[in-house]
Amino acid sequence: MESIASNPPLLQVTDLRVAVGGKEILKGLNLTVRAGEVHAIMGPNGSGKSTLAHVLSGRDGYEVTGGSVTYLGRDLLGLAPEDRARAGVFLGFQYPIEIPGVSNVYLLRSALNARRSARGESEIDAARFLRLVKEKARLMQMDESFLQRGVNEGFSGGEKKRNEIFQMAVLEPVLAILDETDSGLDIDALKVVANGVKSLRSAERAFVLVTHYQRLLDHIRPDFVHVLAGGRIIRTGDRTLALELEAGGYEQVLAAANP
C-alpha cells in the first residue's frame, strides 16, 4: 500500500445514513479517503453504491437521516452541487446526460472557469484553454470534432464514459467519484478510461471507484477495496479482496461476513 496513513483525510464519511422515498438505503456507512489514495467500492446490485455516489455529489431526492460527511474539513452535505464541484469534487456519471445544443467545449470552459473563480483565479485565456483541451482529448483518444458537438449528443455508451473521464482530466479534481464508469465498456474503451484515470493519479488527488466488476481494477490498482452490502461497508481489504470477489462472487463474501 502506497498511501501514507498520516495524511489528513480528504473525505471522512461517518455513520452515514441515507433514505430514498422513506426507505433507508445507507445504514451507517464509514469511509476515510486520504490524498493519493484510490478506493474501490464494490457490492452487489442494490447495495447502495450509487446512492453513495449521488449523495456525495449532492443530487436531489436523497434524505440524509444521520451521520456526516467532511471534505477538506468542510461539511460536504451542506454544499450545493456546484459548490462541491468548485471545491474540487468530481462525479463521473453512470449515465451521462445528453444535452443537445450545448457544446462540450462550452461546458468545459464554463466548468473550468467556475472552478478557477472559486480559487480566486482569473478566467483561463483562450489559447491556453484550447491547448489544454486538445492535450486531454489526445490522452482520451477522442477526436477533436467531439469538442464542438453537443454534450454527449448521439454518443455511444462508451463515448459517453470516455467523455466523463475527459472532463475529469480537464478539471483536475481533488476528489473524483466515478460511478460505474466501467459498465458498458468494451475492452479497448476500458483501457482508455483506465489510462485516463491512471494519468491523473497523484499524491494530491484521491479516487473513489464505484464498480460492480473487478475488471477495471486490473488496470487501476486500488489501495483499498471495500465491500458494500445492505447499506454498510462489511469488509475492507487491499486489491486481493477484489480478486476474491471475482473468484467466489459476492455471496461467499457476504456469507463469511454474516455467519
Binding site: 455529489s57 449532492g58 443530487r59 436531489d60 450545493a80 452541487p81 456546484e82 462541491r84 464541484a85 468548485r86 462525479l91 456519471f93 451521462p96 446526460i97 444535452i99 443537445p100 445544443g101 450545448v102 457544446s103 467545449v105 462550452y106 461546458l107 470552459r109 464554463s110 466548468a111 467556475a114 472552478r115 472559486a118 483562450a126 484550447l130 469538442l147 464542438q148 458537438r149 453537443g150 454534450v151 449528443e153 472532463q167 478539471l171
Partner: protein
C-alpha cells in the same frame, strides 16, 4: 367588431361621404384609401367580393374555434385609432419619398441594410408597398410590383393572379384583398438554382398610422431552387395583415425563412399558403421573436405526388407577448411526406398558442407525417396552449404527433451543476440550447447573428454562444 372611436372619427371627418357602420371598419378603410394606393392590375371585382364577404363574416372572434385563445380586440382598436388619424390627417406622405427606406426608423435588432450579406438580394416592403426593387438581380429571379410590372413579370402575373383567386376564401385574406395597396410578385425561372442567392424581403411598418396589407405572390418554377427570407420589422405601432401565397412547381424547392422581429408593441396577422406540385419540396423556418400580438396561419398543401415539406418553428412568448401559430399540413397526393417541429418558450406574462394540424386526404395513400411541439414554460404567470391534431381519411399512412410543455430537464440541470455551473447559469445554458436548435436551418450569417442577438438579449449574458460550433 365594434369600434366606437372609429365610428366617431370617420363620421366626424367624412361628412358627405358614404356612411360606414362601425361594425365594418374595412368599409371605412376602403373609402379612406389614398388614391395613390390604388393597385393597377388588382381586379376590382376581387376587392368588391372580398369586402362583401367581410360584411358577412366580420373579423374572427372567440366564437371561432381557431380563435379561441387569440383575441383581435386590441388589434381592432389600434386599427380604429389609425383610421381616425388617417381620416383627420392629410394624406400620408407619398411612398416615393421613402424609397430608400431612410425616413423611418427600424426597431429592435436594427436595420439589416442592403449591404447585409454578400450574395443576398434585398428588397423592402414599407406599409405594404414594395420600395424601389433591387437593382441587380441574379439570373432567373424576378421581383416586382403589380403597380409597375416589368416585362419579365407581365406574362406570369396573370397566371399568379388567377391562382391566388382560386383559393378558398379566408377572412384575413379577404381583409388583405380588400385593402391591399400593392401586390408583390416573385418568380423564378425554370431550372434556376438560386439557393445561394436568397431574396431577403424586409416587411416594415413606417410608423405612420397605417394598417399595412402586404401581399406577396411567389411562383417557384419547375425544377428551380430558391431561398426566400421574409422578415417582419418596423417602427413602434406597426400594424400589419400580411398574406403570402406560394406555388412550388414540380421538382422545385422553396426554402422559406420567416422571421418576425417586430417591436414590442407591433401587431401582425399573417397568412401563408404554400402549394407543392409533384416532387416539389419546401423547408420552412418560422421564428417569432417579437411583437405584442402575432398570429401566423401557415398552410402547406402537398398537392402533387411525392411532394415533401419540412417545417421548423420557434416562438418566444416572453414579456407580454401573445404569439399564435396555426399550422396546417394537408396531404392531398400519394407518397407525400411532412415533418414539422415547433418549439415555444413562454415567460413573464407571455402567452403562446400552437395548433398543428395534419390532414391526410383520401388521395394521399402511402404518405408520412410527423409533428412535434415542445414548449418550455419558465414562469407560472406564462401560458402555452398547444393542440396537435390529426385528420386521416385514408389507410396506409404513417402519422405521428405529440406535444409537450414543461420545465427544463432536471437531470440536465443537475449534470451542469455537478460541473460547477450555478443554477441560474445552468438554466440559461439549457434554455439557450433549446432555443438555438431551430436556428440550424438559417444559413445566412447576418440574419443568424441578429436572431442570436435577440435570443441573447432574452437570455442575458453569454448563454447564446453555448451552441455547438461556437466558443472555441
Amino acid at each position: 367588431m365594434t369600434e366606437p372611436t372609429a365610428q366617431q372619427a370617420v363620421h366626424g371627418r367624412a361628412a358627405g361621404q358614404s356612411r360606414d357602420t362601425p361594425q365594418k371598419p374595412w368599409r371605412a378603410a376602403a373609402s379612406l384609401a389614398p388614391a395613390g394606393t390604388d393597385v393597377a392590375g388588382w381586379p376590382s371585382e376581387r376587392r368588391v367580393a372580398a369586402l362583401a364577404r367581410l360584411d358577412e363574416s366580420g373579423l374572427p372572434d372567440g366564437a371561432d374555434e381557431d380563435w379561441r385563445y387569440t383575441s383581435l380586440a386590441g388589434y381592432g382598436q389600434r386599427w380604429s385609432a389609425y383610421l381616425a388619424a388617417a381620416g383627420l390627417a392629410a394624406r400620408p406622405a407619398g411612398i416615393d419619398t421613402r424609397a430608400d427606406g431612410s425616413a423611418f426608423s427600424t426597431a429592435g435588432a436594427g436595420h439589416p441594410g442592403t449591404s447585409g450579406s454578400p450574395g443576398t438580394v434585398h428588397a423592402q416592403i414599407v406599409d405594404g408597398i414594395l420600395q424601389a426593387p433591387p437593382g441587380a438581380m441574379p439570373r432567373g429571379l424576378y421581383i416586382g410590383s403589380l403597380r409597375q410590372l416589368t416585362p419579365e413579370l407581365r406574362a406570369r402575373a396573370a397566371d399568379l393572379l388567377r391562382k391566388s383567386g382560386d383559393v378558398a376564401p379566408e377572412t384575413l385574406v379577404d381583409l388583405n384583398s380588400a385593402l391591399l395597396a400593392d401586390v408583390i410578385l416573385v418568380t423564378t425561372e425554370t431550372g434556376a438554382s438560386l439557393e445561394a442567392m436568397p431574396l431577403h424581403i424586409l416587411i416594415q411598418g413606417s410608423g405612420a398610422p397605417a394598417f399595412s396589407q402586404p401581399r406577396i405572390l411567389v411562383d417557384v418554377a419547375q425544377d428551380s431552387r430558391f431561398t426566400l427570407i421574409l422578415e417582419h420589422g418596423g417602427a413602434a405601432g406597426t400594424l400589419c395583415n400580411a398574406v403570402t401565397q406560394a406555388w412550388v412547381g414540380s421538382g422545385a424547392h422553396l426554402n422559406l425563412v420567416r422571421v418576425q422581429l417586430l417591436p414590442d408593441d407591433g401587431m401582425l396577422t399573417e397568412t401563408s399558403r404554400i402549394e407543392l406540385a409533384a416532387a416539389a419540396s419546401t423547408h420552412i423556418t418560422s421564428m417569432d421573436l417579437g411583437a405584442q400580438l402575432s398570429r401566423h396561419a401557415l398552410t402547406v398543401l402537398l398537392a402533387g405526388a411525392g411532394a415533401s415539406a419540412s417545417v421548423d418553428g420557434l416562438f418566444l412568448a416572453d414579456g407580454n407577448r401573445h404569439v399564435d401559430n396555426h399550422t396546417r399540413l394537408e396531404h392531398l397526393a400519394p407518397g407525400t411526406t411532412s415533418r414539422e417541429s415547433f418549439r415555444g418558450l413562454a415567460d413573464g406574462h407571455g402567452r403562446g398558442v400552437f395548433n398543428g394540424k395534419i390532414i391526410v386526404r383520401e388521395g394521399a395513400a402511402g404518405s408520412n407525417a410527423a409533428l412535434t411541439n415542445r414548449n418550455l414554460l419558465l414562469a407560472a404567470t406564462a401560458e402555452i396552449d398547444t393542440k396537435p391534431e390529426l385528420e386521416i381519411y385514408v389507410d396506409d399512412v404513417r402519422c405521428s404527433h405529440g406535444a409537450t410543455t414543461g420545465q427544463l430537464d432536471a437531470n440536465a440541470l443537475f449534470y451542469l451543476r455537478s460541473r460547477g455551473l450555478d443554477p441560474a447559469a445552468a438554466r440559461q445554458v439549457l434554455t439557450a440550447a433549446f432555443l438555438r436548435e431551430p436556428l440550424g436551418g438559417i444559413a445566412q450569417p447576418e440574419l443568424r447573428a441578429r436572431l442570436e442577438a435577440r435570443l441573447e438579449e432574452k437570455l442575458g449574458g453569454n448563454a447564446a454562444i453555448a451552441g455547438p460550433g461556437a466558443g472555441s
